[in-house]
Symmetry: C2
Subunit: 396 residues, 2 copies
């Protein structure tokens, strides 16, 4: 129970004006006043402050509607730059972007797995490299990490992939990398959802779910009313071990029938290894069983090998069952599917869409778009960039 203060009101109005210019919804002081319903003097004052801060610039006179032509305003996408980082099991990667999320430069360093120090060191090396390459002041640094993350404190509670437990990532980065730019840390799948919403195929969508089906695991990110929905303890969207197959395929977690055990990259590799033995006519059987990679499977699907295509359809069916339950629970406008498994192409997506249609109320299924992710391996870092834009300027 707290009153709305004059300070909050002012900040709210500043964000309204910035956003109107950033999105191009209004580009003159008069249009902004009309769009936001703020008074002309308030708009002029706020625009003055934004001009002085360099976030906005006057770009020249617009068309006159009779009187003096209005001075048009444009957002200065280069006023600041943003660093987005992603800590992965294999590599730490990152990028410097402008205020539109356009990538100016990238960096990558290997992660030494299950060693806090090694992984942190790799991340700091990426950060140092990117800071050296930034050509404008930094608005902030966004960090994407796997596992259960307390985004408010920037602590990674638990990450099976990295072997982290209660690691104060934000604090450690601030101390060890000696940086004074604001740092935002969140779960990688949550940030993938935000990345696609702001810079990818989620444009204009308020309620959205992303399912990231990767080589190591599967997770979902949930966007509600345009913002990441974290759940009570940061666990929203942790669907990797939801029970999906009644017939009990063993999972790495010790349970049976988990989604990851039947539809992740590693599950597909295991199925392909079995198939290589069972179907000597499949191109899969020409591969050495112990050096099988997900890329081998993907290529066999792309080449149209019937056994590989059947496996891609099988993964699509299981992910479809998971997407059906997500639609029934969250009722999003759009479901985006990303991660390496989503690169299995049409057989995979076709089977996924059929399964969703089969197992969801048609009134819901008909109104939900299912699309492949569009940002590839940049998705997490770009989500981290969006988080900074949102947190610092309220722009997205």
């Amino acid at each position: 129970l707290r009153k709305a203060t004059a300070q909050q009101l002012k900040e709210h109005n500043q964000r309204l004006v910035s956003k109107a210019i950033y999105t191009g919804q209004a580009t003159s002081r008069a249009a902004i006043a009309q769009e936001t319903r703020l008074t002309r003097p308030t708009v002029s004052q706020i625009v003055g402050e934004l001009l002085q801060a360099g976030l906005v610039q006057e770009v020249g006179p617009g068309a006159s509607s009779g009187g003096k032509p209005p001075m048009l305003l444009g957002f200065n996408d280069d006023a600041y730059q943003i660093i987005g980082l992603h800590v992965g099991g294999r590599n730490s990667i990152g990028a410097v972007t402008d205020l539109r999320g356009r990538i100016l430069t990238r960096a990558v360093q290997p992660s030494a797995r299950s060693e806090d120090e090694g992984v942190l060191l790799g991340l700091c090396l990426v950060l140092d490299e990117l800071r050296a390459q930034a050509t404008r002041p930094l608005l902030g640094i966004g960090v994407s990490a796997p596992g259960l993350v307390d985004y408010e404190r920037g602590v990674v509670h638990y990450s099976a992939n990295l072997g982290w437990r209660d690691l104060p990532l934000k604090e450690q980065l601030a101390t060890r990398c000696g940086d004074r730019a604001p740092i935002f840390v969140d779960n990688d799948t949550n940030l993938a959802a935000l990345g696609e919403r702001v810079f990818g195929v989620g444009g204009g969508v308020d309620n959205m779910v992303i399912v990231m089906a990767g080589t190591r695991g599967i997770g979902a990110g949930v966007i509600i009313n345009g913002e990441i929905y974290h759940g009570t303890t940061g666990g929203a969207g942790e669907i990797g071990h939801m029970p999906i197959a009644d017939h009990g395929v063993p999972c790495v977690c010790g349970r049976q029938g988990c989604l990851e055990a039947v539809a992740s990259g590693w599950a597909l590799i295991r199925r392909a290894q079995e198939a290589a033995v069972l179907y000597p006519n499949s191109t899969l059987s020409t591969l050495a069983p112990d050096t099988f990679t997900f890329e081998n499977v993907r290529q066999a699907v792309e080449a149209g090998d019937p056994v590989a295509v059947a496996l891609a359809r099988e993964a699509g069916r299981y992910l479809g069952l998971a997407v059906a339950t997500l639609i029934s629970t969250v009722n999003p406008q759009r479901v985006v599917v990303g991660g390496s498994v989503s690169e299995l192409g049409e057989p995979f997506f076709d089977s996924l869409r059929c399964t969703v249609a089969e197992h969801t109320l048609s009134l819901l299924a008909d109104q939900t778009e299912i699309l492949p992710a569009s940002l590839g391996t940049d998705v997490n870092a770009l989500g981290a960039v969006a988080q900074v834009l949102m947190g610092e300027l309220g722009l997205v």
Copy 2:
């Protein structure tokens, strides 16, 4: 993009003050100012308005902390009354309550199934009866209806149970019953969630899911940040036909393996009828197969019949799988289980809890309470009452 107006600010502050008094968080003008951080003059002005409107009363002097003892304020729970209605497949039921949701009187009328007119007539009869019994001015009327509901317009898009399609329930009630009190319409399971949150076992919980497993069907209601989460098209929580059993038990919808086909009241009756034939030693076999009711099954479970207990555990297991996916997706603080199936007692809940523990990340499962619903058959009408309290006074 709209500015915050002075009017919104004023309303916001009025609601803060009312809520502080209603919840008992602050009961003197000074304490309210401290709690809400509003200035003393603002608080005094708002309290004056609330006194004049009769919503608040001065209840006598409090303990002095040195100077003049403060005048204590109390909320006037009888300033208005509220009517909550629920349209069910069999009956329309309703209640008049005070501003704390205390039930003063109830009414019930049979619904003539699948006939708009019959059902509406029953509902109007309940409403008329309750209006005649209300002893104070009405704050509003809340209505709970099954199916996909557009709560903003008060239209029932689709209700399989009632045979309704695009029925403008709010408009029809307003016209036909001639009432001028504000009317709020929402989905029954959403309102069950709100009812338990405000008046039942969901007290103080911001993120909560209710699963209502009834004789006819199964649905979930999702509370996020203290409010009903509707989803994009009102379909959030429509989990009745989510795929849960791989082995393909046929469902009334024509699909196989739906949650309702294995864990609703009618599914249990079907299983009990089968068991009556298969297990002649079970008390179930002493019942006439064609007059089986859910109450027969419940009594056999309560009496400890091993076959009936096994069926209750089976239903608990399937609902547990659904609850596991809800926890993985929404990560609520609390899951409440209601509806007639929840009356199967300990065998049912034990099996449900075990299944959740088995199929949910322990970090999530350990932090999620699973509780039986507490409001019985009043839950929907009380949820409708809570909706009115929230919409009209911002109190809950």
